[in-house]
């Protein structure tokens, strides 16, 4: 019964989504108040209906209702509760339901929190958001219905793919989806602005918090996904340039560019066309990612069942939304008046450079991801574009971004002083240079890693120079400095932290060069050297988990003969699917990690192990967290509070005029 209610709620949500997509739009075009006003309750109700549907599916998983195909195929009664619940989105149908749930969540949040927005803009935003929801609800109901029943229910389910039975499944997909799907709302804002023809700095102010929310979650989702892959796939890699990872990186790059160009649009009323374009682009790339992952053109952990019908359906949605929005864009863009003028050397100029580099690097990722698919479709030849391609293209484009980041923070709006900025960065550059030299002297090897680490140090220190110069001064007492620090706009702190996070991640990435890998056949009690540490396997014992059995190698990490940590890698055998999975043992020592993996056991107590010492590796993910913290600080800025936008600045709506610009 509960399942049927969930199914019915989903159908109802579709009907409501169509109504919400049409009536407020008509209302906005005809300036009809009551029609526009129905958008808000409709958006909230739509979210509640999809939420009810999602809850019903979760309930079916919790009680292990194997009369549902979806539950039968992906669950097992012996599975721990956390994986029963997170298993809801550990499969194609459920993950698409989560997709539309988050889509509706953003609509509902705009309806509830964005009180100060003009009525017609909000009606249009919610209408466009509802079109997207309607398209994906159709997709779920017609091609991926999670509520399909089995005529004769089996007694036991087939269990979830062991690779997905991990706490990561509870965290990574929801975070990533909030980010990924969050760009739908910026897309809706862009489409609404294009329909109404009112594209001004106030629009940028309304859209910025939503972009920030999506960006924060996408950053966290990518970092979390990377860490999950790192500890679960068993060989210590954290980024594979896998098409599915690229599919999340592309919206992140476009979204990062959007955040920066929206700042220019908000402050200086410039880059309007470009900002709207980026808002469309970021969500288009999210849609493309969904297509790549869900259509079955790729095989990866993320691609669940493959069904060509689904691919075609998503492709149609993709073409309709991207094509439609770009057509609207082409129609309206030429009518926009160009905004504020700025010199090439200025904050705006730096942000333009940032956008140029970010979108170009995004394009290289796009080419590397889609070229093999295109080539195969055209010539039938099969190639894989791997890390070497991306390191050679993406890397060199990202270095100037990092170099320019602190300088851009230092430049004034309209006209900046490059020499002055460079002088104020002397300290940062010196720390970077000294750091690079010191690391080279200490570690030797290739010069690339120390240079990149130096660059990272420059970036981290440089990120705070601007803030520091506004706080500190000769002879200023500490209490005054503290008061100044508190008085600074939170968005300044946000910028500093986000930029420093990039530096931290870069440092961690560069330091991978100094990693040590050992693959040995080890006996119990025999120490194995790995980097500055030794690892000793104390014993290898069997253990029984809820739905698996495993062999655990209880081991100690020694430094100078003293035990500093314990590490327990294992191999699990999942009975329901007859599958093995290796569980890596990881200990964090300082910022580095020892990573240990167990393979085959030989007769006589020896075992094949793979050991890594990865110095500074934790910085890669700490950097991601710090970036998100920066985003959060920016979000907390008074100016950007969603409800305050109206009072903060007198809006001067610029109606798109029919005459061409200039």
């Amino acid at each position: 019964m509960i399942v049927e209610i969930g199914h019915y709620a989903l159908v109802l949500a579709l009907a409501l989504a169509i109504v919400q997509g049409v009536l407020p739009l008509v209302g906005a075009l005809r300036h009809d108040g009551p029609l526009m006003a129905m958008a808000r309750p409709a958006a909230v109700l739509q979210f509640l209906l999809i939420g009810l549907s999602f809850a019903a599916l979760t309930y079916a998983y919790v009680v292990s209702d194997f009369s549902l195909v979806n539950v039968f195929e992906n669950s097992h009664s012996a599975k721990p509760m956390i994986y029963k619940i997170s298993g809801v989105w550990g499969n194609h149908e459920g993950s698409m339901l989560l997709w539309v749930l988050i889509l509706a969540l953003f609509g509902a949040m705009v309806a509830i929190f964005a009180r100060s927005m003009p009525e017609d803009l909000r009606a249009l935003v919610l209408a466009v958001q509802s079109w997207i929801a309607a398209a994906f609800l159709l997709f779920v109901l017609f091609t991926s219905n999670p509520f399909a029943r089995i005529a004769v229910p089996p007694l036991e389910g087939r269990d979830l793919n062991p690779l997905l039975q991990d706490p990561g499944l509870a965290i990574h997909p929801p975070l990533l989806y909030v980010g990924y799907v969050g760009f739908s709302i910026t897309f809706s804002f862009a489409a609404a602005a294009l329909i109404s023809g009112r594209i001004d700095s106030a629009w940028a102010r309304y859209v910025r918090p939503w972009t920030l929310i999506a960006w924060i979650f996408l950053t966290l989702g990518i970092a979390m996904g990377s860490y999950w892959a790192y500890y679960t796939l068993g060989w210590g890699g954290f980024w594979f340039w896998d098409p599915v990872e690229n599919a999340s990186l592309m919206p992140w790059l476009a979204g990062t560019a959007l955040l920066h160009s929206a700042a220019v649009m908000e402050k200086r009323d410039a880059l309007k066309i470009w900002t709207i374009f980026l808002a469309i682009l970021a969500f288009s790339l999210s849609l493309l990612g969904t297509f790549l992952v869900r259509s079955g053109v790729l095989t990866s952990v993320h691609a669940f069942a493959t069904d060509p019908q689904r691919g075609v359906f998503i492709l149609i949605i993709l073409i309709a939304f991207i094509g439609g929005s770009l057509a609207l864009f082409a129609l309206r863009a030429s009518a926009l008046k160009p905004g504020g003028i700025f010199a090439p050397v200025s904050r705006e100029g730096a942000l333009v450079l940032n956008n140029l580099l970010l979108t170009t690097s995004c394009a290289t990722v796009f080419v590397g991801t889609l070229y093999p698919l295109a080539l195969e479709a055209v010539t039938g030849e099969k190639i894989s574009v791997g890390a070497p391609f991306f390191n050679l293209t993406f890397g060199p484009l990202f270095i100037p971004i990092v170099l320019a980041m602190p300088i851009g923070q230092m430049l004034a709006w309209k006209r900046g002083d490059l020499l002055g900025a460079a002088q104020r960065l002397t300290l940062a550059a010196a720390i970077g240079g000294v750091g690079a030299l010191a690391l080279y002297a200490m570690r030797g090897g290739s010069v690339v890693a120390p240079l990149l680490c130096g660059l990272a140090l420059y970036c981290i220190v440089g990120a705070f120079v601007e803030v520091a110069s506004r706080i500190a001064g000769r002879g200023v007492p500490a209490s005054v400095m503290f008061a100044r620090a508190r008085g600074l706009p939170r968005s300044s702190w946000g910028t500093a932290f986000a930029h420093a996070g990039v530096g931290l991640t870069l440092f961690g990435l560069a330091a991978t060069q100094w990693g040590v890998e050992r693959i040995v056949t080890a006996k119990v009690g025999e120490p194995i050297e790995v980097g500055p540490y030794q690892v000793v396997i104390r014993s290898i014992e069997p253990r029984t988990g809820s739905n698996y059995r495993e062999w655990v190698a209880h081991s100690s990490v020694l430094s100078g003969g003293r035990e500093v940590a314990q590490i327990n890698p294992s191999r699990r055998n999942f009975a329901a699917r007859q599958t093995m999975r290796t569980e890596a043992g990881i200990v964090t020592l300082g910022l580095g990690q020892i990573y240990m993996n167990m393979a085959d056991q030989h007769d006589g107590g020896a075992v094949d192990v793979r050991l890594y010492w990865k110095p500074y590796v934790a910085l890669i993910w700490i950097g991601g967290l710090v970036m998100s913290l920066g985003g959060l600080l920016s979000l907390a800025d008074r100016r950007l509070r969603i409800g305050i936008a109206k009072r903060a600045k007198v809006r001067t709506p610029v109606r798109a005029s029919p005459q061409p610009a200039e």
């Binding site: 796939l233 069942a305 003028i341 140029l356 690097s361 590397g368 040995v520």
Partner: protein, 155 residues
């Protein structure tokens, strides 16, 4: 600076960045790209040594020979040919005789020196290139229960 001058600066900057990106891309395409072949195609193609390739097929039953702890020799075969592969390192959990694998590495004469081996990850998963080529050769055996499963590359 005039509006026109500003626009010109912007466009030339953009062109420069794009040109650099295209240059880098073309350069990287030369060695950043790896072709996928089956043992049969490899025999027909006569490629020069030290070519970087991905070879996909089935592990020939009885061919797996662990020379010592971590050095493994095995044969990847399909209906049209076979190729000897040597690999140093830990094989993925699901590496078994008679199962689908994809090995990536360098061609050294008749031998293939693999530096990574990807195995089929569960009952229904197989690297897509491999599934395609096996289907073409008519040796594809699928139990028709593909729904709801997934796999990941193991290196």
């Amino acid at each position: 600076m005039t509006r026109k001058g500003r626009r010109l600066t912007l466009i030339s900057c953009a062109l420069a960045v794009v040109a650099i990106a295209v240059g880098l891309g073309l350069y990287a395409m030369r060695d950043g790209v790896v072709f996928f072949v089956t043992p049969g195609e490899l025999a027909a193609k006569n490629l020069p040594p030290n070519t970087r390739l991905r070879i996909g097929g089935l592990v020939k039953p009885g061919s797996v020979n662990r020379t010592d702890g971590r050095n493994v020799d095995f044969v990847i075969a399909d209906t049209l040919g076979e190729v000897k592969v040597s690999y140093t390192g830990l094989l993925p959990d699901l590496f078994r005789e008679g199962q689908g694998v994809v090995a990536e590495g360098l061609l050294a004469g008749a031998q293939f020196k693999a530096d990574s081996v990807l195995a089929k990850h569960d009952e229904n998963y197989m690297p897509r290139e491999l599934a395609d080529s096996l289907k073409k050769q008519g040796v594809w055996q699928h139990n028709g229960e593909a729904a709801g499963t997934s796999g990941a590359p193991a290196k």
